[in-house]
Amino acid sequence: MTNRLLAVAVAAALLLAPLLTANTFFHHLLIQVLFWTLLGASWNLLGGFAGQVSFGHATFVGIGAYTTMLLYLDLGLPPWLGLIIGGALAMVLALPIGLICFRLRGPYFSLATLAVAEIVRLVVLNWESLTAGPMGLQITTLPSMRWFGKAVDWESKLPFYYMVAILTAFAMGVTWFVSRSRLGAYLLAIREDTDSAEAAGIDTVRTKVIALALSAFIAGLAGGFYALYFRYIDPDAVFSISMSVEMVFIAVVGGIATTGGPIVGAVFLVVISEIFRDRFQVGHLIFYGLLMMIVIRYLPEGIWGRARLLLPLGKDGRD
């Protein structure tokens, strides 16, 4: 019961939040929080639930971003369609990547994802005929669209807010369903002990691949959104190690294998980011690092993971 209440409250908050004020900076912050929640949720499916710590998840974000961008710029495809295709392409490319990397376990897997991510980044950087290399790609005008009779005002942040809100709601819905399903139970088992999982009849490779596919799809969607919102992408923005590490950070600090964790992690990340951007311009990463260390040492289940234990969410408190 409390779970449903929470879900309704969150949905209401999502719908109404931007209407609290006309301050576009506030809207921008909200969008940031939701965007990073999306990324955290994506990583969480593979890294949190299945315990496969990927340091190269930005790859899927980048694939989504470039696909959406190129489909729009070169083929005039409507952005929302490009978004979905971007996600789908990321999912498709995740399969061979998974095939390669899943042969490895633990830290070896993590290193492999790092290597793959760097290879993809270098390929995109150097394949100038397709991607314009280091110069990046840019959207100058977004298509005129109508939504319920009114023309969409792309200059305002609101359309983007609702776009990312829908994507985030989708991602959280997926996470929630997974956490309660057989797939979720299987993923947690794999995280604990892969041999025992096999002995219990779980096809560990197939299960990991499913988690990866979902994770990559969501990351691809996020990448597509990034392209539309920021209107400029280059390999260093969307394929970077920093983005990969920040995705890990959000999920770990927020709460591994929880539905609510990524939001908490994203809020922390964005708040710290903004506080430090005002005063120090770069200091925020110092605190990411520090926070990561503190969480691993004292709160391995994450901030939301720990908070959840204190809240009356019932025995089945999978938020």
Binding site: P107, Y108, L114, A115, E118, L122, V245, L290, L291, R297
Partner: protein
């Protein structure tokens, strides 16, 4: 032909320094089974140390090595003793994440304190390269190479001839058995981490005359380091040396004969291939 030899020589010289950094990483893995994501930052700290001691007190980096190595050894031990010790029992992934956080912390602290400006030092005697047999060799790199060889030899002697060295090797093979033999495993862990840090920092100091110094240099270095350590076999010191030299060669030859753009990619491909088909390293001596 001359280009080939030139290429090989520079590859080996740079490779020797990579090797030293990689040995630092590999001994930590061998003894504690953790992959230290902050290893690159230790190199960076060594670089900055040498840079500042040159700027402020005009100490030649190759002399400054004598100051910074013991200091960084102590720093490494402190990092293990006060930060890592409680994390290691939590498992490899936790340690990986923790050291990733540490890496972010150190790199960005440096960025904050010293800005991201690329710095370099210009030693007077470095201006003109040496030209033995018509091959151009940068003097600082040559000196660095010689010192790296000295350090690695000293390390080899330390590990094989001293009691502490033997204790380290024993712990790497089997911590439980070593403990039963009276080895204070925690103390060995701390010493090893200090040693690994010192090696990284030493390489940093030696590389200062030859590379640009900036706070995020660790990011690229640590990834190269992983490649080397996996190529040579995780936990194997000779493997790391061979791997370092190999990577130096591959990058040098790759830059000349393939393309500058893709020289990094070659290393990664090799890395993936090895991880997939010979996870114990090219020479089969790595541990899992």
């Amino acid at each position: 032909m001359e280009t080939l030899i030139q290429s090989i020589v520079s590859g080996l010289l740079t490779g020797s320094l990579f090797a030293m950094i990689a040995v630092g990483l590999t001994i930590v893995f061998g003894v504690m089974r953790i992959i230290n994501m902050a290893h690159g930052e230790m190199v960076m700290l060594g670089m900055f140390g040498a840079y500042w001691s040159y700027e402020k007190w005009h100490v030649d980096p190759f002399v400054a090595v004598l100051i910074w190595v013991p200091l960084m050894f102590a720093f490494g031990m402190a990092v293990h003793r006060y930060l890592l010790r409680k994390i290691v029992p939590g498992g490899e992934l936790n340690a990986l994440l923790y050291t990733a956080g540490l890496s972010l912390l150190i790199a960005n602290l440096a960025l904050f304190l010293w800005t991201g400006d690329y710095r370099s030092i210009n030693l007077a005697y470095a201006a003109a390269p040496m030209r033995p047999f018509g091959i151009s060799i940068s003097k600082p790199l040559a000196i660095a190479f010689v010192m790296a060889v000295v350090v690695m030899t000293a390390l080899y002697l330390f590990l094989s001839r001293t009691d502490t060295g033997r204790a380290i090797r024993a712990t790497a093979q089997n911590p439980d058995a070593a403990a039963l033999m009276g080895v204070n495993v925690l103390r060995i862990d701390t010493i090893t981490f200090g040693l690994g840090t010192a090696l990284a920092a030493a390489a940093g100091v030696l590389l200062v005359p030859s590379l640009y110094v900036y706070p995020t240099v660790g990011e690229i270095l640590v990834v190269k380091c992983f490649v080397i350590v996996v190529l040579g076999g995780l936990g194997s010191v000779p493997g790391a040396v061979a791997g370092g030299l190999l990577l130096g060669l591959v990058e040098s030859l790759g830059a000349v004969y393939v393309s500058v753009a893709f020289k990094d990619t070659i290393g990664f491909f090799l890395f993936l291939l090895v991880l997939l088909f010979r996870p114990a390293g090219l020479f089969g001596v790595g541990k899992s």
